[in-house]
């Protein structure tokens, strides 16, 4: 059981990283970004592309640094890509006063375009970063691999960083102000467009980080982000949609629930636990466990 809880924390950390970005973007823009899971996939594939195309040919760079550098560049890349999409699509739709359905269909369109673009370039099968399989180490009888340890540490660090950013920096406070009242934020002199760009960057970067980590502990597949999207939605709704801290906790709860459910059900059904939790939350406490901001 303890092993399942540990596995739950690993899965939950990755779900939480995806849920944070999704929740932030919904909170500030009212947009349910169905492409968020594919941002995660894109992060993984961009790492693969940068590593194998640019860094691997430089033989003196050790594999660990190669991976780290590729991942950082990919995270920045997805962050910038998110800003670009905002500038060329979302901003225009906002200005035209596009409704929820239009935004939703656009997000699904972007998700499909991104996923099929990945399939077109890199194929529909799994890809390999050519990393030797890491042996699980045993800590107090619990088995964990190097990348799983990294996943938990990175996720915790990024959650703490986000908390620091939101509470202690000018940009973070402006993001919270925007989430409270966008029109008032503009009145006080906050450059709303700039803060929206920062939000997209952070959301994209956190999604990419989650995608890279997920790929490293499982495998890189074009549909990996799409598969993660349901548990991410469940986490966001469970933790109260629009509440970043709720998304973090929601992610961990969903991860734990999925993995510990293996005591009772087969692994192929564990994703259904997200569905079940989502339905229960919507029926019992539709505003989520944190009940708002």
């Amino acid at each position: 059981m303890l092993q399942l809880i540990l596995n739950g924390l690993i899965t939950g950390s990755i779900i939480a990283l995806g849920a944070i970005g999704l929740s932030m973007i919904y909170d500030i823009l009212g947009l349910v970004n169905f492409a968020h899971g594919d941002f995660m996939t894109f992060g993984g594939y961009l790492t693969f592309f940068i590593s194998l195309t640019f860094l691997r040919p430089i033989s003196f760079i050790p594999l660990t640094y190669d991976l780290l550098l590729s991942a950082i560049l990919a995270i920045i890349g997805v962050g910038l890509f998110s800003i670009l999409l905002d500038k060329i699509i979302w901003k225009k739709l906002r200005k035209k006063g596009a409704g929820t359905v239009t935004l939703l269909i656009t997000a699904i369109g972007i998700a499909l375009a991104l996923r099929n673009g990945i399939v077109f370039i890199w194929g529909s099968g799994t890809i390999s970063l050519g990393i030797p399989i890491s042996q699980a180490i045993e800590i107090f009888g619990l088995k964990i691999t190097f990348f799983e340890i990294i996943s938990i540490l990175v996720a915790i660090t990024l959650m703490l960083l986000l908390d620091f950013l939101l509470k202690n920096t000018k940009i973070g406070k402006a993001m919270r102000a925007l989430s409270d009242n966008q029109s008032l934020a503009s009145i006080t002199g906050i450059n709303v467009d700039k803060i929206i760009s920062y939000t997209w960057f952070l959301g994209g970067a956190y999604a990419a980080t989650g995608g890279i980590l997920y790929g490293l502990i499982t495998s890189f597949r074009p549909d990996m982000g799409w598969i993660l999207l349901l548990p991410i939605f469940a986490a966001v709704i469970l933790g109260s949609i629009g509440n970043v801290y709720g998304a973090m906790v929601g992610g961990l709860i969903i991860g734990l629930a999925q993995e510990t459910s293996l005591v009772f059900i087969g692994s192929r059904y564990k994703i259904a636990v997200s569905f079940l939790l989502l339905i229960i939350v919507l029926l019992v406490k539709p505003e989520g466990i944190f009940g708002g901001k």
């Binding site: 406070k173 009242n181 009145i187 006080t188 450059n191």
Partner: protein, 236 residues
């Protein structure tokens, strides 16, 4: 006019294709309190929103210190020395009082601590609430936070949209006292108010708007004693 700080000249504006303002003109001089009164739908709040760049100036011009500011973005107008307190939703409820004030100094953080102390000296009720979530404060305290936020950059002119709306009679008096206090500190104030009798007693000059047009203007005293104003807006 030498002392003039704000001027709206023949301004047309509105929310939809229809104009709400149909050629309104107003002037505010330095260190003056100028009120705008009129019935619902007269265009009072629309005028403030247009001056502050929240609505498009379709025709006419707006000047701040003789510099044209028509159709500038609100954040650019803040930089030029104007503050605005909307009638409703004028605070960030999930932010603390201190963070709300910080947002007021977003475009220029230098001297924030000093300005914060000045604002807290005007609104001493907020002194022990700086770390409280603004959404948890009373209506009167929230209004003070909203005004404090607009004052933090020490603007030359501040626009107040119905500062007494929704407040108890006791708190209304407090808010009007604060308006006088802020004005005495050297700030020009353009205020839209439903409570016409009270604001006309406080203001130097006033304008009466009706159907998006100027109807009357005069000193607060003149308007207070005007038969038509008395009949229509002061309850006869």
């Amino acid at each position: 006019m030498m002392n003039e700080i704000l001027r709206a000249k023949n301004v047309f504006s509105g929310y939809t294709d229809l104009n709400i303002l149909e050629g309104v003109s107003i002037e505010v001089e330095r260190e003056e309190i100028v009120s705008i009164i009129g019935p619902n739908g007269a265009g009072k709040s629309t005028l403030l929103k247009t001056i502050f760049g929240l609505l498009e100036t379709r025709k006419g011009k707006i000047y701040l210190r003789n510099e044209e500011i028509s159709n500038l973005k609100p954040n650019e107008i803040v930089k030029k020395g104007m503050g605005y307190v909307p009638q409703s939703k004028n605070i960030f409820p999930s932010l603390t009082v201190e963070e709300n004030l910080e947002m007021g100094s977003y475009i220029d953080e230098s001297g924030f601590e000093e300005s914060k102390q000045e604002v807290l000296s005007i609104f001493p009720d907020l002194k022990d609430k700086v770390s409280a979530k603004t959404g948890d404060l009373s209506g009167g305290q929230q209004q003070m936070v909203a005004m404090g936020r607009a004052l933090i950059l020490d603007p030359d002119v501040i626009l107040l949209d119905e500062p007494s709306a929704g407040l108890s009679p006791e708190l209304v008096n407090v808010v009007f006292e604060k308006i006088k206090e802020i004005n005495k500190a050297g700030m020009s104030i353009l205020v839209v108010e439903q409570n016409a009798r009270k604001i006309l007693k406080v203001c130097d000059r006033g304008y009466v708007l009706e159907m998006g047009e100027n109807r009357l203007k005069g000193t607060g005293k003149e308007l207070l004693n005007n038969k038509k104003v008395e009949e229509l807006y002061l309850g006869g």
